[in-house]
Amino acid sequence: MERIRKRTKSLKRILFAMLVVGILVMSMGISSAKEGVPKYGGTLRLVSWGAAGGFDVVKSRGPFGLGADAGHRVMETLFDRGQNNELIPVLGLSATASADGKTWTIKLRKGVKFHDGTPFNADAVVFHWQRILDPENRLLARIMISPILSVEKTGDYEVQFLLKHAWMPFTAILASSSGFISPIPSPKAVKEGAQNRAPVGTGPFIFKEWKSGDRIVLTKNPDYWQKGKPYLDEVVFLIMPDHESRYNALVSGQADMIITDWPTHVEKLTEEPDFSTYIFNYRSLTAMLLNNTKPPLNDVRVRKAMALAWDQKKYIKVSYKNTTPYIESWLGDVHKSGNTGYLNHDLNKARALMAEYGKPVELEFLHTATARGRVGGAIVQQLMKEIGVKVTPVPLDFSTIMMELFTGQYDMTSWRFWGGSDMGPSSVASFYSKSPLNLSRYSSEEVDKLLIQQRQSTDPGAREKILKTIVQKVNSDAPFIYLAGFRQYLFARKYVKNINKPLPGEEGFSGSQFDMWLDK
Amino acid sequence: MNNSLPARTLEVKNLSVKIHTSHNIIQAVNDVSFNLQEGKTLAIVGESGSGKSILCKSILRLLPKSAVVAKESRILFNGYDDLSLLSQKEFNKIRGRNIAMIFQDPMSSLNPVMKVGKQIAESLLHHMGMNRKQAQKKVIGLMKSMGIAMPEQRFFQYPHQLSGGICQRVAIAIALACNPKLLIADEPTTALDVTVQAEILDLLAFRQSQKRMSMILITHDLGVAIGRADEIAVMYAGKIVEQAPAEELFSNIRMPYTRALMASIPRLDNPPHTTLACIDGQPPNLARPAKGCCFAPRCSRAQDKCIKEEPLLRPGIKKDHVFACWYPIGEAS
């Protein structure tokens, strides 16, 4: 069922939200070519996957694809990211750090009102952040922001963040467009308990309705603080879990814009002159998790042999029709320069390792019961057969897979690692031996040490080097197998102008940039 | 036409009907001809499978699709020369209006999900151009004249709420609603109790004499036929084997089959444990008609000629008494 796959994605998206940290690397930027004079009015219909889980950062169990996209149009963050790492003021005007890097003072914009009429000020920001940091509220992502100690009001339009130690990703958190940690909601709506289903913020669009599983409708905010924006009267986010439906919706004119990763559709739509194409480069990858603690996968030879047996290029060709990148490092395609220690497809080596191991290997491969899951299962089975590993694909629903992962009973399963603009925190999460997110239960003292080093490092160059060393080490230990890179595509009708280009590592449209207009 | 002759309501000439089943063809009615005069009753007597029902249904075009009427068949009715030449639409104007029919089982010949009043009114609405109100009034009168008590209530009842006798009265009311010239009664009393049978037959006879209607009475009961008809035709294996006025037939049976039929009826004046005179053997197979006389295999009087040659209907001593037998009773064999 298509839905589980999306749920898989959605839940991974929570993970992603938690992992987003921002060192702002090169972005694809906003296209410099002018698209003519903006036109006002019209309804944009955007189709995406998945469901929304609510808009209240505490109550919702994670904003998924569409929900995040819609929510960020309603609620605004303090800052946006620019093309060159710089913070672009939104609700915040400036962010300055103290010399030790432990205190950040943020000046806020004056004269902004929430949709419900209450004013935006330091109280709103402090209320939001204190709520997040309150351990009673059990915010799911709290470990990701654990270096933040407290937020205090230092003026009507000024707040101060106190950190445990100097922490490079802090500004990225402020400007993050994933999850609802950074956008500021109306305290009134939150207190009334309405925020989760009917969000109130300061954004260019006002929430109108949300029909679960069908659509989220937003209308233009006439009192938006950025005069002259937005251009659109209404935005309709349609939820279509089935990729075929999404494709059909675009082609038959039901929607103006879709986001998809389905290779046949990508192939077809890219060739069509009627549509404009944009690529979301997430710098993330799909991998095959191996349970490092369970025999025979606790033997590094078996894991290595399996990694060597995997033919990524062929897989990308068959399963993705080359619409997704080939990767050699979990840092993503951006980091592939230099020696990554990636175990390239080599059957002879793999067979040799298996011979060395000497025992028959039989494994179960858990996959979601979807078309793509089935294809994956078949290919894994086929390739592993070549080195004498007998794999039984087991289709399961996502909940069951999650449970197997949680309890550590699985042999192997496919998984998506979400990238981000900064891979530091995700590295810690994925490979630190005591991390709850270390799903493959990989354990290496050397890597643990390196991970702590990079976290405390304040020099970007040195940090990059440490990360690369970690990549090489992890690649040679093969705690999991890279199946392929991951990439999504946005297709829009030509009359949709000024499409905000996605930033690398960011999911959906970043920040408050949503300045599209329709030229019909 | 010779004016001195009584008017003929119906004239059937050389009627043949074949029924196609998936692996053979049954000659259900074989070259039957007869006349029916105005106001008279013709009884057609025969055992099941003798083709009497098919014969009558073919007059009203009520045959199943598998039945085919031979081309040379002619059915001449009153003003219409040949019924078989009429289109379906034209024929529908005669059906129910000029020729009506009642069926064996009154319970099943009424639509179970339709009020009986409406069922009677239907033909009035259709043929007489009445409106609903007129029709209802007429129907209630009609029901009353059929001897149905409380017609106003009965009008709105469904067939299953009525007894068999009343149902048959309703069926007769339907048939007689438009004052037809000819009524075909297909075993109208077989499904009814003995006591009711007589009443229904009496009712039919009475209405007939009132309206000078002609009637074809189909029955398997020779006794009923002789009591109720002016003329009797005996059918066997799809053919009329003997035809005569009722009194003449009763007193002077010529055909061995008719006599055997008569003899095999248990009689009240027989003593207990009487062995009945019965016709041996099985009825003929109509799919494979025999060459000679169809009754020959079961006939005690049969001779070689009977098996080889088919006897044709011919008059005997009396002109209006015809029979199909080489060696009829009462003639030296």
Binding site: M1, E2, R3, I4, R7, L15, A51, G54, D56, R61, R138, L140, R142, I143, R197, K211, S212, G213, R215, L238, I239, M240, P241, E244, S245, N248, A249, S252, Q254, A255, F398, S399, T400, M403, F406, P436, L437 | K57, L62, F91, N92, R95, G96, A100, M101, F103, Q104, S108, S109, L110, P112, V113, M114, E122, S123, H126, H160, Q161, I174, A175
Partner: protein, 317 residues
């Protein structure tokens, strides 16, 4: 009649209780639970346990079912664990979609089945009958999803007459709303009509053999009149029964069509809820689907007695 109603009501309650209880049991015994689904990563096992406690999943299952039943009886179906949406609201948004799909598809199916059924019964054994039957058997042999794909391919992607997917709410225009249901309705109807037609045909043929049809014919009534006024009504009892069951199943089972055409119906809500182990939503959906099923069959029973006076009068005694 009161006894009849009372009996039906009793049966309705028994079925609803049984179905919801079975569902409750079933969903609870599935591997994985809502706590794990919602906890996400970063959550510790204690977090999961805390969520379980929050949601009351630690209590005895019988107690939980009783509590749910008690609440449900008062119209409180709770909120979705996953989206916080009140279950009643979620269902009230989805149910109209499903019902509209059901009505439109069954209307199409009947519009095809009744005339074809009558013609083919009337012409039984002829080439017309054979053609209609071959057609019916052919469409009966095409799975709904293949039919849906074919229809989208033909009417939407090739000629673009009808929208391929998506649901347009009633508020956005009557015609647009109807249009968005045409293709899904047809893909259900096209597969189903053959089945319904075969049923009608078979009953109609036996009705046409009844003496009262001969009687009607002997009255000189036109054929079309006889077919519709005399023959149709007594021939449609099986058709109605099957239709009742079919409609009942469509309410919960039009998942495929809802999925392909992106219709936010109750079927897809239910499936998503099961995958997410969203117990309250599952229970709420099942409750509504069961009630709908039982009610529809109840109406079918009533329809019987309207159509057939024999049943009507039998009930009265």
């Amino acid at each position: 009649m009161m006894v009849f109603l009372g009996k039906k009501l009793f049966r309705l309650i028994v079925v609803i209780l049984a179905v919801t209880a079975i569902t409750f049991l079933m969903v609870n015994f599935l591997p994985g639970d809502i706590a794990i689904t919602t906890a996400g990563f970063g959550a510790s096992l204690e977090d999961v346990e805390a969520i379980r406690e929050d949601l009351g999943l630690n209590k005895n299952i019988v107690l939980r079912y009783t509590l749910w039943l008690f609440d449900a009886a008062q119209g409180r179906l709770g909120q979705s664990f996953l989206t916080d949406e009140p279950v009643l609201e979620a269902i009230s948004q989805r149910l109209p979609v499903t019902i509209e799909l059901m009505i439109i598809s069954q209307m199409f199916a009947l519009m095809l089945a009744i005339p074809f059924g009558i013609i083919s019964a009337y012409k039984s054994g002829t080439n017309i009958d054979k053609t209609i039957n071959t057609l019916a058997f052919s469409v009966m042999s095409i799975p709904t999803f293949v039919m849906a794909l074919l229809l989208i391919f033909a009417f939407s992607l090739k000629v673009n007459w009808l929208p391929a997917t998506g649901y347009v709410p009633f508020s956005e225009g009557f015609w647009l709303n109807i249009k968005s249901f045409l293709l899904p309705g047809f893909s259900i109807a096209l597969v189903e009509w053959g089945y319904l037609m075969r049923i009608l045909r078979s009953d109609m043929i036996s009705t046409l053999q009844e003496d009262y049809i001969l009687m009607a014919k002997s009255k000189g009534l036109p054929t079309v009149y006889i077919l519709f006024k005399h023959a149709l009504r007594p021939s449609c009892f099986t058709l109605i029964t099957i239709l009742g069951i079919q409609v009942g199943h469509l309410i919960g089972g039009a998942v495929i069509v809802e999925n392909i055409f992106a219709l936010p119906g109750i079927g897809s809500l239910l499936i998503a809820a099961i995958y997410g182990r969203d117990y309250t939503v599952v229970q709420g959906c099942i409750l509504f689907i069961t009630i709908a099923y039982v009610m529809i069959n109840f109406f079918v029973d009533i329809l019987y007695s309207i159509l057939d006076p024999r049943i009507r009068f039998q009930n009265r005694t």
